[in-house]
C-alpha cells in the first residue's frame, strides 16, 4: 500500500516539473515573438522588403516626326547592346566560340577580351546587334549574356532636312533643331512601377504602377518632304556649279505662314556620327544675317504707295544715274532716265529708290521695314534665330536713309525676307511663321494696304517677265519676284569680290500660293548676280513644287494681271 502511494506521488511531481518546463519554454517563445514583433519589426521588415521590392522604369519611345503628308522625317527604332559577364564565360570556350560566330567576330578576339577582363562583372561587346543576332543569342540560353535595349534615331531624309530636324544624342535627347525645340513633347514621360523580384533579379510580380507612362507624342510638321527635296537638290546643284560657299532656300505659304521647305547647303547626314561636325550644324536660313540689297526695293515702293503721294504710274527721274549724298554717291548700273515705279523695280534702280526714300521721312522708311517684320523674330522659335539689324531711324544719317531704301545698312535672315514677301503676296498681312502643325497661332496683323500689296505684286511680276528676274520664270505660271546682288562687307568695306546672290519670288502672281527665297553666298564662278545664280534655282524648285502641290497653272487671274501691266506701263511705254 505504502509503495503504491509513493509511486503516485513521484508521478505527480514529475508531471508538475514537465508542465512547468513546457510553460517556461512557451513563455520564452512568446517573448521571442513579442520581441520580434514589437522591439525590432521595422528593421526586419525593411530588410525583407529590400530583397524583393524594387521600383522599375516603364520605358517609352521617342515620338516620330512627320512631314505634312505623314512621311517620316525622324523615327526611333529599338536596338540592342550586348554585354557579357567574363566570370561566367571564362571557362567555357564552346560558348565563347558560339557567341563569336553569331557576332561574326574572330573567336580569338573575343577570348582575348574575356580573359583580359576576367574579373569584371560585365564587359560591353557591341551596340549594334541585329534582331537576328539578338534572337540567336537569346536562343543559346547562356547565363552571363545580357542585352540592354536602347533607342536609336533614324533620319530617312538625311542631309535634306538635317538643319531643320536636328538630331539627338546617344540617350535620344534632342540636341539641335526641332528635336531640341520639341524635346519634351517627343520624349514623353518614363513610368515607374513597383515589382517583386527574386534573388536573381527576375521580376516575379508587378505590384503597383507608381507613375503612369506617357508615350512620346508624334510631331507633324508643315514641311512637304517632296518640296524640301526639290529645294535641296536644286540648291546643292547651284552651290556646286557656282562654286559658292553656301546657300539657303525657304519655301512658304504666304497665306498662313507655314514653312513648306527650309534647307541649307552644305549639309550633313545626321545618321552618320562622323558627319556631325559643329560647323555644319548651323541652320543658315534662320541664323545668318545678310544685307538684302535690291530684294528690299519692293518695300520702298510700298512705302511710296502707302504715303499717298505716289501712284503706280508716278514717274521719277533717275538721270544721270548717280546721286550725291554728302561725301557718298549712290549709283545705278547706267542712266535709266525717267522711270515709273514699276521701272524702278524692273531695272533695280538705286537712284530711283533713294529719290523715293528722300520724298518721305526716315520714319516712314523705318516704319514700313518694321511693319513687314524686319528687326524682329519670325515666330519660328528655332535655335539661334537671328533678329536682324534694323537701327532706329532717329540714328540715321541721310546716307543711311538712302541705303535702307535699296537694302544696305540693315541685315535680314532668309526667313525674315520670306515673311516680308508674304505680306506682298497675301494682300498686306504680316503672318507669324510656323513649322509645326497645330503650333501656336498668332493673329495676323495688317502691315500694308491691300491695294498697295496688289500693286507691288503686279510690279514684281513685270520684274520677272521683263526685268532682271527672267531666269526665275516657270513654264505655265505667272511669277512675281525680285533679284538681289548684295556686295559683302570685307574688313569694313564693301568689296566687289564677294557677293550674296538673292532671289525672292512669289508664285502664281495672280493668286499667290508660294513664296520662296533663294540665297547663294559668295558665288565664285562665271556668274555672281541674283538673276543669274539665284533666280534659276527658284525656277527649278517651283517647277517641281507647283506639280507636287497641285497648284494650277495660269488661272484667269493672270489675264487681269497682264492687262494691269499694260495700264501701268502705257504712259511710259518707251522706258521699257
Amino acid at each position: 500500500m505504502s509503495l503504491q502511494r509513493k509511486v503516485t506521488l513521484d508521478f505527480r511531481n514529475r508531471r508538475k516539473v514537465t508542465l512547468a518546463l513546457f510553460f517556461i519554454m512557451s513563455l520564452i517563445l512568446i517573448w521571442g515573438a513579442i520581441d520580434l514583433q514589437i522591439n525590432e519589426p521595422v528593421d526586419l521588415k525593411k530588410r525583407a522588403d529590400s530583397r524583393s521590392l524594387r521600383i522599375k522604369e516603364i520605358p517609352t519611345d521617342r515620338g516620330i516626326i512627320f512631314d505634312k503628308n505623314k512621311d517620316p522625317l525622324a523615327v526611333s527604332v529599338p536596338h540592342y547592346a550586348l554585354e557579357v559577364d567574363p566570370r561566367k564565360l571564362i571557362n567555357n570556350e564552346e560558348y565563347q566560340n558560339r557567341i563569336a560566330t553569331i557576332l561574326d567576330w574572330d573567336p580569338e578576339k573575343l577570348q582575348k577580351m574575356i580573359s583580359a577582363k576576367k574579373h569584371r562583372k560585365g564587359i560591353p561587346l557591341t551596340r549594334k546587334l541585329t534582331t537576328e543576332q539578338k534572337k540567336a543569342l537569346s536562343d543559346l540560353g547562356i547565363d552571363g549574356v545580357y542585352f540592354t535595349e536602347y533607342s536609336k534615331r533614324h533620319y530617312p531624309t538625311a542631309n535634306v532636312t538635317a538643319h531643320l530636324i536636328g538630331f539627338t544624342d546617344r540617350d535620344d535627347r534632342g540636341q539641335e533643331g526641332i528635336e531640341k525645340l520639341y524635346d519634351t513633347t517627343l520624349q514623353g514621360v518614363v513610368g515607374e512601377r513597383r515589382v517583386l523580384q527574386d534573388a536573381r533579379r527576375q521580376v516575379v510580380k508587378s505590384l503597383q504602377i507608381i507613375k503612369p507612362v506617357e508615350p512620346g507624342k508624334d510631331l507633324y510638321l508643315t514641311i512637304h518632304a517632296g518640296v524640301q527635296y526639290a529645294a535641296y537638290r536644286a540648291l546643292e546643284k547651284a552651290v556646286i556649279k557656282n562654286q559658292a560657299s553656301s546657300g539657303s532656300v525657304v519655301v512658304m505659304n504666304p497665306n498662313n505662314g507655314n514653312i513648306l521647305a527650309l534647307t541649307n547647303y552644305p549639309s550633313f547626314n545626321p545618321n552618320i556620327s562622323s558627319e556631325k561636325q559643329a560647323h555644319l550644324y548651323r541652320n543658315r536660313a534662320v541664323t545668318d544675317k545678310f544685307e538684302p540689297g535690291s530684294t528690299l526695293k519692293p518695300f520702298t515702293i510700298a512705302m511710296a504707295l502707302e504715303g499717298g503721294v505716289y501712284a503706280p504710274d508716278s514717274i521719277v527721274d533717275t538721270s544721270p544715274g548717280v546721286i550725291k549724298i554728302g561725301r557718298n554717291k549712290v549709283r545705278d548700273a547706267k542712266d535709266y532716265g525717267v522711270l515709273n515705279l514699276t521701272g524702278i523695280l524692273r531695272h533695280s534702280s538705286n537712284v530711283g529708290s533713294t529719290k523715293l526714300a528722300f520724298d518721305h521721312s526716315p520714319k516712314a522708311m523705318w516704319k514700313i521695314l518694321w511693319a513687314v517684320g524686319f528687326g524682329e523674330k519670325t515666330g519660328l522659335k528655332l535655335n539661334g534665330e537671328a533678329r536682324g539689324d534694323l537701327t532706329s531711324h532717329v540714328k540715321w544719317h541721310p546716307f543711311d536713309h538712302a541705303t535702307h531704301s535699296f537694302g544696305y545698312g540693315m541685315t535680314v535672315t532668309a526667313v525674315q525676307l520670306a515673311r516680308a514677301y508674304s505680306v506682298i503676296a497675301n494682300g498686306g498681312w504680316l503672318v507669324s511663321l510656323g513649322v509645326v502643325r497645330g503650333g501656336a497661332i498668332f493673329p495676323k496683323v495688317r502691315a500694308i494696304k491691300e491695294s498697295t500689296a496688289r500693286s507691288v505684286l503686279d510690279m514684281l511680276a513685270v520684274a520677272v517677265n521683263e526685268g532682271t528676274g527672267k531666269n526665275a520664270r516657270v513654264q505655265g505660271f505667272n511669277v512675281a519676284g525680285k533679284t538681289g546682288t548684295a556686295r559683302k562687307l570685307l574688313d569694313g568695306e564693301y568689296t566687289s569680290k564677294a557677293h550674296m546672290a538673292l532671289f525672292a519670288g512669289i508664285i502664281p502672281a495672280d493668286a499667290p500660293e508660294l513664296v520662296s527665297i533663294v540665297v547663294i553666298d559668295e558665288p565664285r564662278g562665271e556668274h555672281y548676280t541674283g538673276g543669274q545664280v539665284a533666280a534659276p534655282v527658284f525656277s527649278e524648285i517651283m517647277n517641281e513644287a507647283t506639280r507636287l502641290l497641285n497648284i494650277e497653272p495660269g488661272t484667269s487671274g493672270s489675264q487681269a494681271v497682264i492687262e494691269n501691266f499694260a495700264t501701268i506701263s502705257s504712259p511710259l511705254g518707251s522706258a521699257f
Binding site: 516603364i58 520605358p59 517609352t60 519611345d61 516620330i64 512621311d71 517620316p72 523615327v75 526611333s76 527604332v77 529599338p78 533614324h154 530617312p156 531624309t157 512601377r193 510580380k205 508587378s206 505590384l207 503597383q208 504602377i209 507612362v213 508615350p215 518632304a225 517632296g226 527635296y229 513654264q475 505655265g476 517647277n543 494650277e552 497653272p553 495660269g554
Partner: protein, 87 residues
C-alpha cells in the same frame, strides 16, 4: 438577445469587408498586370510600325525613286513644251 444580433451583424460585416478587400486587391493586381501587358504590347506594336515606316520611307525616298526611274527604268522629266495642261 438584441445585443447578440448586433454583434453577429458586426462580425459578419467585418468578415465581408475583409473578404472584399482581399478580392479588390487581387483585382487591382490583375488589372495592373493587364495594363502593363497591354502597354508593352502597344510599345512593341509601335516599334514594329516605326521599323516598317522607316523601311517604307527608305524604299520610297525621293532620291531612290528618282535614281530607279532614271537608271533602271530610263525615265526622264518631260520637257516643258511637251506638257499640256487640261482643265
Amino acid at each position: 438577445m438584441k445585443m447578440n444580433f448586433f454583434v453577429l451583424f458586426l462580425a459578419i460585416s467585418v468578415f465581408a469587408s475583409a473578404l472584399a478587400l482581399v478580392t479588390k486587391r487581387e483585382e487591382t493586381r490583375n488589372f495592373s498586370k493587364q495594363l502593363e501587358k497591354l502597354e508593352s504590347e502597344r510599345r512593341a506594336v509601335k516599334q514594329d510600325w516605326a521599323k516598317l515606316i522607316l523601311r517604307q520611307s527608305n524604299l520610297a525616298s525621293h532620291s531612290r525613286v528618282e535614281q530607279v526611274a532614271r537608271d533602271a527604268l530610263g525615265m526622264k522629266l518631260p520637257e516643258a513644251k511637251t506638257v499640256v495642261s487640261t482643265k
